[in-house]
Symmetry: C4
C-alpha cells in the first residue's frame, strides 16, 4: 500500500516536476501518425459525451493508437465539449506525451495509461463524473443491469476506494502511475469501475463501444435507483446469460446510436 | 413453451440467414405504394418520439398499410431521430421486407408483424425503451392511469416476461415470429404491454394516437412513481368509467398536441 | 349535486350542440377591441407557459377584457406553444365566443368563464396539467409554500374532486358552466386549486402575475416533494405572515422574470 | 436581535425611501472604472449562472472592485440571463450605488455589501434560489461533499434562519444592512450559507471560483439527496483532508469548465 505525500503543496509540486520531466522525455521520440478517422472519432466521442451529459467541464476519453499498441490518444487538458482534432495528443503507456509543445496535460492521464498497460484487449477508456453514477460509488448498493442496453454491467461493477492505495488524505485524483495501476487492478475484467467520491471509468474495445457503455451506464444508474425505490428493493435484473447474450447482440448495432449522437453533438445551435 | 437456441453464435447466425431468405422471398412480390401522407406522418412520428425522449438510438414505430391491411410500413434499421421518407420500407405480416435492396432490417420487426396479424383493429405500433417505464417492468407495481391524459392505461398494462416464451437465456430481443406472437398475446386488448428488462410496446388505431399514447405512458410512469412516494403508496387513480370516458374524449383532440410535437421535432436548431 | 349524463356519446353530442348554439348567440353581438398590448401579453403568456413546461399540447391561459369586465380573451382550441395574435377570441361570462367564425373552442372554457363570473377581482386564469403538481392532486399531501417565490400558496391550496359535482363517471373535463362554477367555488380565495386526476387552475390579478404563479407552483411542487423525502416529512414551510409579506414584495417585481421568460420563449431555435 | 417593522406597508415604504437617499448620497462621489475584463467576466458569470440553472429570473452575482476594495460591482435589478456590460453598477460597502441614474437596484444588495465588509478575503458573491439546494435549507439534513468537485463544502454549510435576526414576520428578503450583516456572520469561514425558505449565498476568491462553487453546490445537493435515498442514509462523504486537498487542486483548474460554460451561455440559439 502506497502512502501519499502528506503535505499538499509538496505533492502538487512533485506532480508539476514529474509532468515537465515526462514532457521532455517524450519530446525526444518520434510521433506516429494515427489514421485520420481515429482522430475524428475521438473528437466526436468528446463532443458526444459532453452533449449527452456524461462529462461536463471535466472527464476525458482516450483510444489506443491504431498502429502502435504502446501508445494512446487523448486530448490536452480542456473541457471535452470543446475538443477539436488539433487538441489530440499522443501518449506512451507511462503517461508521457509526445510533442506536448507546452500544452497542459490531464493530471489523471494515468488512469488511461495504466489500464492500457494492464489490459491489452482494451482499446478505449472514458473517465467521467457521470452524475447518476456518483451515488452508487458512495453507498453499498451495487450497480446491476436493469435492461438489455446496459447488459455489459452483468460482468460486475467494482468500486475503487482510493484510501486503499493512496491513504486517507489524497486529493481524490489518480495523479500517478501507482494509483492508475490500482484502478486498473480493481477494474479487472469488468466494463466499468466506480471511484468512491469521484466518478467512474468505462472501458471498451472501440470508441463507439466505450461511448455506448458510458452513456448507458449513466442511464442504468438513474433507472436502477428509481426502480429500487418503486419496488422497495425488489427488482428483477438481467441474469448472467441474458446479460452476456444481450451484450453480444448490442455489439452488432453500436453504429446505430452513434450516428444519432454524433448528429446531435455537432448540430448548429 | 419455446426453448431458445442455447449457443449465442448459433442463434445470431440463424437470424442472419433467416433475414436473408426473407428478403429474397419478399423481393419477388410487388410493392404497393402507400399514400404520401402516411409516409410523411410515419416520418414525423419517428422524429417526434425521438424529440420527446420516448426513443433514443433504439426503438421503432410502424403503421399498417393504408390500402393493404396485410402489410405495414417501418423504417430500415436506424435511429428514429434520423429517419426520412426514403428510409421507410414495406413489410408483410411475417416480417418480410418488400424491396429491401440490401438495407438492414430491425431485428425486432416481429413485434410489429405479429401484433398486426393477431389484432386486425390495430393500425400503429411503437416499440421503445422509454426510460420512466423501465422500472415498472422490473418490479411488481402495476402502471395505472394517474390522470386523464393517460386514461388509456385503464384497460390494464400487462408485463411480458420473455423467459416464459423464450427461456432463461435469450438476448432479450423479440427476434422471431414465435416471440412476436407471444408479445401480441400478452398485449391482449390493452394499449400498452411492458417487457421485463427491455422496454414496452404501445398500440393504437392511428399514428397520431399511438404517438400520443407512447408519450403519455412515459409521463404517467414518471408521475405515478412520484405520487406513490409522496402518498406512501396511497394514490387515487382514475376509475374504470372515468378512464373509458376520458379516452373517448382524448381521441377527439389528438391533432392538438400532434401539431406542437411536429413543429418541435422539425424546428431548425 | 349534479349528475353527469351517464352515456358518453350523449354528453359529447350535447356538448357539440351547446357549442354551436353558443356560437350563434354570440355572433349577434358586437366585439369590443382590446388594447393591442393585452393581446401581445396573452400570446406571450401562451408561449412562456409552453416554453417553461407548465403546459404541453394542452392547457390554456386567459385574461379578462381590459375595457369590458364581462368578457375575457382566450385562444381558439390549439396548443398554447403555437398561439399567435389572430388565434385569440373574445368570450362572454357564459363561455360564448364572439365571432368564432367556425374555429373550434376549448371544451373547458367554462373554467375561465365561471371563475371570472364568481370572482370579480380575478383578471387572469391558467389551466394546466403542470406535471409536478399532479401527484399533489391524487394524494392527501397539501401543497404548501417551501420558499418565498411560491409564497402565494400560503392562502391554501384546495383540491377539486370532480365526483362531488359531476358524479363518478365523467370524462374528467370541466365541460359545462355547472362544473366550472364548482371549480370556482372550490378555489375560493386561494391562488391555486388542484383538480384530482387532471391538473390545476391558477388565478391572478394580471397576466404577468398568473404566469409567475403557474411557474412557481410547478417548481414548489417539485421542491416540496423532494424536501419531504429528504426530511422524512419534517419540512419548515413559510408561516402565514412570511407568506403574505413575501407575496406583497413579489408583486412589485413580476416584470423581472417576465422579461427573461419572454426572451426565452420567442428566441429563434 | 433586530425586530422588523410589523406592518408590511411601512417597511416597503421605508425601503423605498432608504434606496432613494442612498442613491443621492452615492451620486456625489466619483466612480472608479474597473478593468474591462472584470466587467466582461461579471457579465459572463450572470449568463453562465442563468444558462446552468443556478439562477432564474432572480438571483445575482457580484465581484469586489479590482482597484478599490471598498467597492463592488453588481448589475441593476434585472434577470441575470439578460445582463450586459452597461447594466453593471458600482456600489460601496453600505450598498449605495454610484451613478445609478434612476436605475432600480436589487433590494438584497446588502447580502453582497455586508459580506464584503465582514470578509476582506472574499472577492465574489452569488445569491441564488438554486433549486436542489432549497430542500436542504428547510430540513435538518446538512449539505456535505459527496465528491471532489464539491469538496469546498467540507468547510461546513450553515443555515441562516431569518427569524433569528428579523423576527417571524419578514418578507424573507435581506433588505437592509442589519440582515446582511447577520448573513455574513452566519457564513463565517464557509464557502456556502443556506437561507431557510429562500435560497443560498456562495462566496469565492474570484468570479470563476464563485461560479464553479455555485454550480457544484447545486449538483452536490441533487446527488446527495439521491445518495441518501439509495443508501437509506448511509453515504460515504469526503473526509476533511480529502476535502481540503481536492479544493486546492480544483482551484488550479477553474478555467477549464469556465471556458465551456461561457461558450454554452453565449452560443447563438
Amino acid at each position: 500500500m502506497r502512502k501519499s505525500v502528506p503535505l499538499l503543496g509538496a505533492f502538487l509540486l512533485a506532480g508539476a516536476v514529474a509532468a515537465l520531466e515526462a514532457a521532455e522525455a517524450a519530446a525526444s521520440r518520434a510521433k506516429a501518425t494515427p489514421h485520420p478517422d481515429v482522430i475524428d472519432d475521438l473528437v466526436a466521442a468528446n463532443r458526444i459525451l459532453s452533449d449527452q451529459g456524461v462529462v461536463d467541464g471535466f472527464g476525458h476519453v482516450s483510444v489506443r493508437h491504431d498502429t502502435d499498441p504502446t501508445r494512446f490518444l487523448l486530448a490536452r487538458s480542456m473541457a471535452p465539449g470543446l475538443v477539436s482534432a488539433n487538441d489530440i495528443l499522443e501518449f506512451d503507456l507511462d503517461g508521457n506525451a509526445f510533442e506536448p509543445r507546452g500544452r497542459t496535460l490531464y493530471v489523471e492521464r494515468f488512469i488511461h495509461s495504466e489500464i492500457y498497460k494492464a489490459h491489452p484487449d482494451i482499446k478505449a477508456v472514458v473517465h467521467s463524473h457521470s452524475p447518476s453514477i456518483i451515488p452508487f460509488g458512495v453507498t453499498d448498493v451495487p450497480l446491476r443491469p436493469i435492461y438489455h442496453m446496459s447488459s455489459f454491467l452483468g460482468a460486475g461493477v467494482p468500486v475503487f476506494e482510493i484510501r486503499e492505495a493512496g491513504g486517507a488524505a489524497t486529493d481524490m485524483l489518480i495523479r500517478d502511475p501507482v494509483l492508475g495501476a490500482a484502478v486498473a487492478r480493481k477494474l479487472g475484467g469488468s466494463a466499468v469501475v466506480l471511484m468512491r467520491g469521484h466518478g467512474n471509468v468505462v472501458v471498451g474495445q472501440s470508441i463507439e463501444q466505450v461511448v455506448f457503455r458510458a452513456i448507458y451506464t449513466e442511464i442504468n444508474a438513474k433507472l436502477q435507483a428509481e426502480a429500487l425505490r418503486l419496488g422497495r428493493g425488489e427488482v428483477a435484473f438481467l441474469n448472467a446469460e441474458e446479460a452476456a447474450n444481450a451484450t453480444a447482440t448490442n455489439n452488432l448495432v453500436l453504429g446505430r446510436p452513434w450516428e444519432l449522437w454524433k448528429q446531435q453533438a455537432f448540430r448548429p445551435r
